[in-house]
Subunit: 412 residues, 2 copies
């Protein structure tokens, strides 16, 4: 297995140098041509997906839905490639520049990371999305999708490579690991000479395995145990609207609210949680809140810090913004947390003290999304602290080098 990954890696290194120097127009052309190739290959891709779906009868409806491609979804995959092709290219951009007293001119210039391994599950669109972001940022991608999507992934990958080659980029710029053997994941995690970065996209089991085993740097995307805190000073109508959107707009996304915290001094906590319950959410209330709304179910210890990804939320009263900050510090996952308040001082305290990748004031946690942040796309929401945090798109897939231009300077 190591030799399979090593062979992929060797081809990837060769391609990486070409990708790193590819002009923006050529990278964009490759993505546009890949979109065209995907539309042309739609019958083959949908047939491959039908094969995967036929073998997926034992999976849950939610997993089958993630796996499914239809003409509308396939068109949105192709359109996403065209959208990435239109994004500004970070490679070559100057981060900052200075001239030293000795005349040495220094600049930090964005360059690709190199070879990026993406390990993902079920959703076949990741094959195209991740490849597009990697290529547009000048990186080579080695993709390892889930076994349940193997036929779909191969068909999408073939169309993508058609686009690369048509634009004069190497086919090896995006490679699919040719085996579903689980040992291939282990080989990727150990391949520090081959891969510069691994991005896991999937459930807790996958991410936990990656974090436990990886010898390659990881840009992790962990749970979104996201909180909305409603302060005493909140506008009640705004609070109700934000809480409902944060929980129920889509319950399966990582930006969904999982826990509602209400200031003990808020005028009518019971109305707020009842509004959420009436909208179809099961509210599991802590003891203090349940005294005000005894019809709610009782939260257990395991409900705090839990990611439901469903129409369920934990909720409780807290002692003001400090209580909310302490609760989030204890139970949050450093993903996205929001406050609803009309008090700027309280808001700024929350924004400063809550240690999450994204902190929001008077806005729904469901904005946690690269597209909504103006990045044009995203490869995920990073919950680690190093390199990139929150929505990661093209810039997060680059690094930098220091370039110094002198006229014979020595330190002497």
């Amino acid at each position: 297995m190591d030799t399979v990954v090593a062979a992929l890696g060797q081809r990837a290194r060769g391609a990486a140098r070409m990708l790193a120097r590819a002009p923006t127009a050529q990278k964009a052309d490759a993505l546009t041509r890949a979109a065209t190739a995907m539309r042309a290959a739609a019958p083959a891709i949908l047939a491959a997906n039908a094969q995967d779906m036929a073998a997926a009868a034992h999976l849950s409806p939610a997993m089958r839905d993630r796996l499914l491609l239809d003409p509308v979804r396939l068109e949105s995959v192709a359109a996403a490639l065209e959208a990435v092709a239109g994004l500004p290219d970070p490679v070559g951009r100057t981060i900052d520049a200075t001239e030293r007293p000795n005349g040495l001119k220094l600049a930090r210039i964005r360059v690709p990371i190199g070879v990026i391994g993406i390990i993902y599950e079920s959703r076949p669109n990741v094959t195209a999305d991740a490849a597009a972001l990697c290529v547009m940022a000048g990186n080579v991608a080695i993709l390892r999708g889930g076994s349940e999507a193997v036929h779909s992934n191969h068909a999408l990958h073939a169309a993508f490579v058609t686009g690369l080659v048509a634009a004069g980029l190497p086919a090896d710029a995006v490679q699919l690991v040719p085996t579903q053997d689980r040992a291939a994941v282990g080989a990727m995690l150990a391949a520090a000479d081959t891969l510069d970065l691994i991005i896991p996209r999937g459930g807790k089991g996958l991410v936990a395995r990656v974090q436990a085993e990886a010898r390659v740097p990881v840009l992790a995307h962990l749970d979104g145990v996201n909180h909305v805190y409603v302060d005493a000073s909140a506008n009640p109508a705004m609070a109700a609207r934000i809480v409902r959107d944060a929980k129920l707009r889509r319950t399966g996304v990582c930006g969904a609210m999982e826990c509602l915290l209400i200031d003990r001094a808020y005028p009518d906590p019971a109305s707020l949680v009842r509004g959420l319950a009436d909208a179809g959410c099961e509210v599991r209330a802590g003891a203090a809140l349940r005294e005000l709304a005894p019809e709610l179910s009782q939260a257990r210890g395991s409900d705090w810090g839990r990611e439901y990804l469903d129409a369920v939320a934990a909720a409780d009263l807290v002692d003001g913004v400090e209580g909310a900050i302490a609760h989030i510090a204890r139970y949050g996952s450093h993903h996205t947390d929001a406050i609803v308040t009309e008090d700027v001082g309280v808001a700024e305290l929350f924004l400063a003290e809550v240690d999450s990748a994204i902190v929001l004031w008077n806005a729904s946690t469901q904005f946690a999304d690269g597209g909504e942040f103006g990045l044009g796309a995203e490869i995920g929401i990073a919950t680690g602290r190093l390199h990139a945090r929150g929505p990661v798109a093209l810039e997060g897939l680059t690094t930098y080098k220091w370039v110094g231009r002198g006229s014979g300077q020595v330190r002497g």
Copy 2:
């Protein structure tokens, strides 16, 4: 051992929240007071160092020199604290900001990384330098120095903590691992819940162990196998000056040149290498170069890609800039590489294609230093690709968060 590190970590988490919100003036005050405390404690620190030196009779002269503190060196340690106190504080700085069409105002704001573990060897000044940079960037530091410097490190740490406490910052903001048991390093490397980042500073053995074992993100500082390429178009006097400085100004620093590559079309390669040899450098020449200067010793295979850290250099002829780029891609360590040329096109090709943290044109590799780059200090030269590359100072010890300010926006 895990419990020792866990106890340090628990105290560190408490201190981290205070450090993260400490104003710039308070952090600077702590460093200034630490410098004062170090000067006041000079007799105790030098006595502690004498104890370490007495136990170090078996070490090499180079290691003993790294270990030694004297009044002049101690004063420069104290002065370095004051210099860091005067640096601009990156915490709270806005990286970029935007307003979305829906009115949501987004900004990326620099925040501390959190708790940083530093694992280092011999040089006791790292105790003060690393602590100062971590604190100024709002981080808590857990320091694990080498056993040979244990008394010096404890004395320097005690003075540093005096400064922290005098400025009203928690003593736990900088903690020294209280045992020299090697298992403590293993416990730090595994402490993903305790440490947000590990920075190893030391020899190959230490860095290799850290990279092999760490479950915590690592900012690695590997070898500097640095090249100077002298192009056919180089100004010969400038080339001689740069090559000599790059190799011989200080041979033990990570920015020293280890390999000289000369364009086959350069007018007089023999003079260039003879100049370096005459200045006191042993030149180990490849076959092609040795034909021109047969008095040089013969390079073996192991001389390519080797970090001598001594008055020794490998040297060879290459086929122009493309030959140099290929040689560096094969043997370099992605640290610092330089070109000497009068041809801007050749220079720009080298700067673009050589994949090193620092690439220089017509300047000595010995500029690879945070101070020389205007960063005011450095915790090291990072040779990895993620998060920070090249000289790492305050900014590299921070991360960012996304802060969004809305007026009730929902995604709907």
